[in-house]
Symmetry: D2
Subunit: 278 residues, 4 copies
Amino acid sequence: MERGQTSAAGLPATARRTVVVGGHEFGREFVIIAGPCAVESEEQTLTTAREVKAAGAHLLRGGAFKPRTAPTSFQGLGHPALEILQKARAETGLPIVTEVMDARDIETVAATADLLQVGSRNMQNFTLLSELGRIDKPVLLKRGMSATLSEWLSAADYILSGGNERVILCERGIRTFETTTRNTLDLSIVPAAKELSPLPVIVDPSHATGRASLIRPMSLAAVAAGADGLLIEVHPDPANAASDAGQQITPEAFRALARDVRALVIHLRGEVREAGVA
Amino acid sequence: MERGQTSAAGLPATARRTVVVGGHEFGREFVIIAGPCAVESEEQTLTTAREVKAAGAHLLRGGAFKPRTAPTSFQGLGHPALEILQKARAETGLPIVTEVMDARDIETVAATADLLQVGSRNMQNFTLLSELGRIDKPVLLKRGMSATLSEWLSAADYILSGGNERVILCERGIRTFETTTRNTLDLSIVPAAKELSPLPVIVDPSHATGRASLIRPMSLAAVAAGADGLLIEVHPDPANAASDAGQQITPEAFRALARDVRALVIHLRGEVREAGVA
Amino acid sequence: MERGQTSAAGLPATARRTVVVGGHEFGREFVIIAGPCAVESEEQTLTTAREVKAAGAHLLRGGAFKPRTAPTSFQGLGHPALEILQKARAETGLPIVTEVMDARDIETVAATADLLQVGSRNMQNFTLLSELGRIDKPVLLKRGMSATLSEWLSAADYILSGGNERVILCERGIRTFETTTRNTLDLSIVPAAKELSPLPVIVDPSHATGRASLIRPMSLAAVAAGADGLLIEVHPDPANAASDAGQQITPEAFRALARDVRALVIHLRGEVREAGVA
Amino acid sequence: MERGQTSAAGLPATARRTVVVGGHEFGREFVIIAGPCAVESEEQTLTTAREVKAAGAHLLRGGAFKPRTAPTSFQGLGHPALEILQKARAETGLPIVTEVMDARDIETVAATADLLQVGSRNMQNFTLLSELGRIDKPVLLKRGMSATLSEWLSAADYILSGGNERVILCERGIRTFETTTRNTLDLSIVPAAKELSPLPVIVDPSHATGRASLIRPMSLAAVAAGADGLLIEVHPDPANAASDAGQQITPEAFRALARDVRALVIHLRGEVREAGVA
């Protein structure tokens, strides 16, 4: 445990950093990323892309390479999924967020992705992190499912110290004894991370809770906790999704949620402005 | 593990129950409880009571009997603290919340308290719970620090099944591997508890985080997650508090927080109203 | 967290303390406690008592008052169970271990018990601990299911500082994310506790694992880890037990286990003697 | 959570599999792996190799590529370390165990290693696992620090389903709230894993406890729990080790431990034989 170390980049946490992805500035604007857990087909992806765009999402997420616990589970469509994501961007203009699982795939995935995601299981894949430090593309670093804040920030330092300063942190729930939810969403890590690091921090309530009915309250709570954005799984037909069926919400539910998230951001920023707080 | 059981009281979770304490209706109004971790002196308690009253708190908390890990730690003033709390109520009109640790003290503590708190360490003190089921006084049941939702609701059932239906649940953080915060505040348990139980659920960000700087974001997040109230530790001079020095906030910080909590409640209720949601 | 405090009794951990119960000296002899989870009937208890006595158990355990998660679960026979335990002792000569859940029951339970058990859920029932510090009867203090070593030793200090120096610690598994076993048996806490405390430490593999098939390997592992004794649930007909059906073993399995535990203790003590270690 | 799945290799758990590494048969013989956390120099490695060989170790461990939490920590000597390990094998005859962190390094590391280790942080690096499934070299798969048994066995299935059936599991402690030890050694997972999988299971008490004083009791406990081998960190001068200083033991302590482990294995196998158990 090497706690309390200063960031490799040496920036004080108070000097907030912003990260621009496809014209959206994480850390200044509140950014909503939405889309299916996995790219299953062109139709499913384009339908979802149009819906979340209309609802106000800023970026489209969609898994091409899926890290799955068992080798017999659906592993994602792979390269064809990247082509589908490109079509979705061409049509909707939404920048793309997708996961890279292997250092050898960085170039290929980066050719499609506007923001490269490192998943929870790879938070300490130091080879992958180091190589992402050498590219010119922003990285979304998910917290490991049992990573301490210190370990998470150290993982970010592997990317930062390579020279890539465009890192966004994403809380996605930690592993505890509670079984009601898939993981336990640790919202207090959002302000705690901001005390120690200048990086933007967003929240993924979908993987954290594993339950569609909890996405709305946890999204609003993330906003109130000071998150800089949300990553929400949306599927046109959640019940028949190829993965994470229980936690994806419908485009309709997303639309109402995105509207209320925006209103809450405006409310809270007004409040902060009145109070004269930065 | 006996998960999924229905409440002893047999009420569907959707039929929300409200619990009135000193004129305030938990589950309908958003109720803010504030006050020092422990009653240390008449002056400290009365000063705090006046301050939190002026800031808009609805109830006054203050520990008379303190459950402490080590026998050599400050254990609370005991009975003299109850008299001080009575004076604070007489002067400010604030109803009193204080902990009862022993079934034999119920009568004495209930003579002062308007709301009897069962602490985290006693969540499965079944003797205490059973006897609280036989009295005519509302009970605030804190979640055990490693209790599942199912165990917490079962603990509530010990009180409910004795005939006392005025139970309020309080999330106060669970024990995880993360050491940045004292405990991990599990806000997703708020909506999850409401799916299974009709009882009001409030949140204690002070014990959950153990850090004064996190009280404000976690309080706002609790409101957004759907909590019915907050329990916040306030001390006129946190640095010199006899216990929990690191997590108590000043009356001034509380005033700003209470104002923003109220504004957020109004904002969110308006939003819900517009959306036509119940 | 008040870690690293010295024991209230002020003894260095290296000066091992022994605790005599009914002629058996914990901390010098290896002591095996066996018996049913709960006293269900005179026949069940006497049958088990005879069997475990014949197999070499030193003490008989049996629950009269059972702390149960839900109010509708079997709560134990209560006072009649104490009478049955007395009969079992009269017939077999086995000293009795049974749980006391309420400070008001201490006198009654102590009239039957030779060793009073404080259960996991009551490890921080400070009223109960303090009163047990004032009686002249040894106490078996189970570790709380999410208690740190420091908190466990502090709980013991509540008893020790009252003047009762006859305390035996019992590891019974902690709560983790792993669901294969009921709890996770933390055997490293046995030597770790002995580095900080002079008290004997025994192990309960039954509650720790919740699975009959794991009792044998975990019992032997506990011996090898340096435990001073074992607490094992034995039932003449585990499948039809009123509680903990999955983790109780048959008298036959217990007989083979007790034999192998004894042989292992002899083997390990011989090894230690040869090595010239204390 | 995909629990209870059958192994990709389809073998019933009861048909124990053995894995031969450099003439030693895991699953039939009890195999002791020892050596430094990291290869720091030729002298340090050769000294340790000679010592552990003399003490009866069967394989030599030594890290060439070290997964470290922070980018500024010592990352291992890399390729030169592999050459040093080859010299150690040439001189002592001890087969080599070393970690591979990156799929691109498999060929290089496999040219030196007799047993390729997958570390805890890479347990769900599915790319690495899949490629290890295609090579003709045994793999030591450490349990992830928050992996359930089901996830661990699924990770093994990634290797097995590729055609590489020579997989050995290694328990190395899980992450819990307890801070006395670095992790919590979960010995009950040893017999639990054997109920569900035919693979050999060994135990690493060094990383699990993080404390030299606990290595001996936990090693003996692992043997008693049914482990098929041990992985122990030994350093000629633990206090000045470049990593894991607190948990490495001296060659002298290792010698006494290896002797007692052998004696315990003989004792327990004799006991099992007498009892007529397989």
